[in-house]
């Protein structure tokens, strides 16, 4: 019908260069360099204590919670939103999944019940965020701030401000296992990251996410259901919060309303350092992963060197700024 295939209209031209690709690489290159510098500092100051498999696993294990949520957050921010409630969702999911009721159910039908309820609670809360933002048209910042307050409050009410201890042996055994020396939770982190990368870069869902974040009006006029897609994005993030809650439950063997306190800033910082634009339309999972690893390695190197919290904080701020400036210089260099 249309003339796309009409040979008379197509002029053969050599393939163009790929500036986008190279800019993407250069941006990640900056992060990789930052990470490498950090590792060098780690090796120089802490030697084998830093450069050991055990320590690497420690870093990765620490990264699971932030990292899994950061994958979901990459979608939301790329889609033009923001979510401040992630820490509270982790708390609520962990509390819900460890109530005596849920644990009794888990004893009957298996530990999957706990995993299922954590993920379900995260997903439902994420969906509520999504509905408020997409259909209620509440600014994401406010909608998710409200969710932050409510979800943490609800977690406290449910847990009655007590730490709920996981007594289900199956749960502890499964997530505490280390096949081939790699902890199960690290494997799950890797799987979530790969799934996120695939979803963002290789599926129509990912393509729509970029479009919705880049120019929602243009996306709408091109026939994309922008509202529904936005709701999906927050729901997806809620799901990753639920998964992260399971990771934290496994690490701490508890559910608690204090879990995930101030996690939101860490997660957003990692995503943004990773090169995802806060204004939407651009985001990379690889960058996010690097961002998470940089923060975690930083903390690890600090701990290995016995720095005081205060000094650490001062240094952290300075290092973040230097890293970003460095990264910019590299990204802006002519390819």
């Amino acid at each position: 019908m249309t003339s796309v295939q009409d040979p008379s209209l197509t002029v053969p031209t050599p393939r163009a260069r790929e500036p986008r690709g190279s800019v993407g690489l250069a941006r990640n290159l900056g992060l990789v360099i930052a990470l490498v510098i950090l590792c060098v500092v780690g090796v120089v100051t802490a030697g084998d204590r830093f450069a050991s498999t055990d320590n690497l696993i420690t870093i990765l294990r620490l990264a699971t919670v932030t990292g899994i949520i950061a994958v979901g957050m990459t979608f939301v921010i790329t889609g033009g939103g923001i979510d401040l409630s992630v820490g509270a969702l982790v708390a609520l999911s962990s509390v819900w999944a460890t109530t005596t009721g849920t644990q009794a159910m888990a004893d009957d039908i298996g530990w999957v019940a706990m995993v299922f309820s954590a993920v379900l609670v995260g997903t439902v809360c994420g969906a509520i965020n999504g509905l408020l933002v997409a259909y209620g048209r509440v600014v994401p910042f406010i909608a998710t701030l409200a969710m932050l307050a409510s979800a943490r409050g609800l977690a406290e009410v449910i847990a009655d401000r007590k730490t709920q201890i996981i007594r289900n042996q199956g749960f502890t055994d499964f997530f505490g296992a280390e096949p081939l020396g790699i902890p199960v939770i690290v494997i799950i982190f890797a799987l979530v990251t790969m799934a996120g990368w695939f979803l963002l870069n290789r599926t129509t869902f990912g393509r729509r996410t970029f479009a919705v974040g880049g120019n929602p009006e243009a996306a709408r006029l091109a026939g994309i259901k922008v509202q529904r897609h936005t709701a999906y994005l927050y729901t997806l993030l809620g799901t990753t919060c639920g998964i992260a809650a399971v990771m934290l439950m496994s690490r701490t063997t508890t559910g608690s309303s204090t879990h995930g306190t101030q996690l939101e800033l860490d997660v957003i910082a990692a995503v943004v350092i990773g090169g995802t634009l806060l204004s939407g339309g651009r985001g990379t999972i690889v960058g996010t992963l690097l961002g998470v690893l940089i923060f975690m390695t930083l903390t690890n190197v600090f701990t290995l060197n016995n720095l005081s919290t205060s000094t650490q904080n001062v240094a952290k701020g300075v290092i973040i700024v230097i890293a970003v400036l460095l990264q910019q210089r590299i990204a802006n260099r002519k390819p």
Binding site: R49, S52, D54, N55, T58, I59, R61, L62, V65, E156, R161, K162, T163, Q164, I165, T172, G176, L248, R251, T252, T253, T254, S256, S257, T258, H259, T261, Q262, L263, T299, N300, F302, T303, L304, N306, L307, S308, T309, Q312
Partner: protein
């Protein structure tokens, strides 16, 4: 030595016990991890632990970043395990949440000394040094009961600390139980966040909520500075205030007797220092010299005495500066 000179009183306090056990022995590496020192009492805990370690030339203390993120604190303990330290003195942000990693450390042959917030498994620590949070509430409540002398129409209010922490719940429960025994109850309760600012804010609202008060128990002397500021701002002095934790400023104020503050309940800030001492003894296979027992006990529960104008001079030297 004494706290009123503004010096580093806590470290002075840790130095005063001297026994044969303090003679130098095999070098001991101890890992130390505690919640974020964003609070006077918690800061004093870490400082006392470091000062205690400095007293020994056979102790190397590795201090991890104080944190309120259990995930990070677990990772710190994992790092200690990787480093193969001899002992870990652990003041968990949340005792239950740190249990499994502490157990992992014990399984790896590391002696774990649990401080202040208790693990939920006896296998996770070799010995435990506990403050008595429930006892704090009981002490404060008992003080109120005695002071009220049988009157059951007194209005009692409470400014709690961070409400989502189990220790706050224990303190409130003890307070309530003690009050119940003499027919009183808490009529207004607000929670602050262990900071001066939050104390001021919570107290300012509380003073509006309760136009007349007879007793006010404030869980924490750090936030107490803000509570007192709010009381001054509102020009209120019709009630008796009881503090918590036992900071040097509060004790001085009690001694001076020039404010509504008449008493405070001590919550020892030397617990971690004791933890360090015990860890060293355990690694060096020594016993507690004042006990006949040849093993270090499984648990030590510190008492929560009430400090009033009468006995303040006794406690002031070991008080911390907030």
């Amino acid at each position: 030595t004494n706290g009123s000179d503004g010096g580093d009183d806590t470290s002075a306090a840790v130095g005063k016990s001297n026994t044969d056990n303090d003679k130098s022995g095999d070098t001991v590496t101890i890992g130390f991890s505690a919640p974020a020192a964003d609070h006077g009492w918690m800061g004093a805990i870490t400082k006392a632990a470091v000062a205690q370690a400095d007293q020994y030339d056979d102790v190397e203390l590795k201090v991890a970043e104080g944190t309120n993120d259990v995930n990070l604190q677990i990772s710190q303990v994992e790092t200690f395990i990787n480093d193969k330290v001899d002992a870990i003195v652990l003041l968990p942000f949340d005792g239950a949440a740190m249990t499994s990693v502490a157990r992992k450390a014990m399984d790896a042959g590391i002696i774990v000394v649990n401080v202040d917030r208790e693990f939920d498994s006896p296998f996770a620590a070799r010995t435990t040094v506990l403050g008595d949070n429930y006892g704090m509430g009981v002490s404060a409540g008992t003080f109120v009961c005695e002071d009220a002398a049988g009157a059951t129409d007194k209005i009692v209010t409470e400014i709690a600390g961070i409400d989502s922490l189990p220790l706050t719940q224990d303190r409130s429960r003890g307070f309530k139980d003690a009050l119940k025994s003499c027919g009183l109850k808490v009529s207004n309760r607000v929670a602050a966040e262990f900071t001066v600012e939050s104390g001021e804010k919570a107290a300012a609202n509380l003073l509006q909520a309760a136009p007349k008060i007879d007793y006010l128990w404030n869980h924490d002397d750090d936030q107490g500075v803000g509570v007192l500021a709010a009381i001054n701002n509102a020009d209120r002095d019709e009630f008796t205030m009881i503090g918590g934790a036992g900071s040097a400023d509060v004790m001085e104020s009690i001694r001076a007797g020039d404010s509504v503050l008449k008493a405070t309940v001590v919550y020892p800030s030397t617990q971690a220092a004791d933890g360090v001492k015990l860890a060293r003894l355990l690694v060096q296979d020594k016993a507690m010299s004042d006990l006949a027992e040849i093993e270090v006990p499984r648990q030590l529960k510190l008492s929560a005495p009430v400090v009033t104008a009468e006995n303040v001079d006794q406690y002031l030297p070991s008080a911390f500066r907030s």
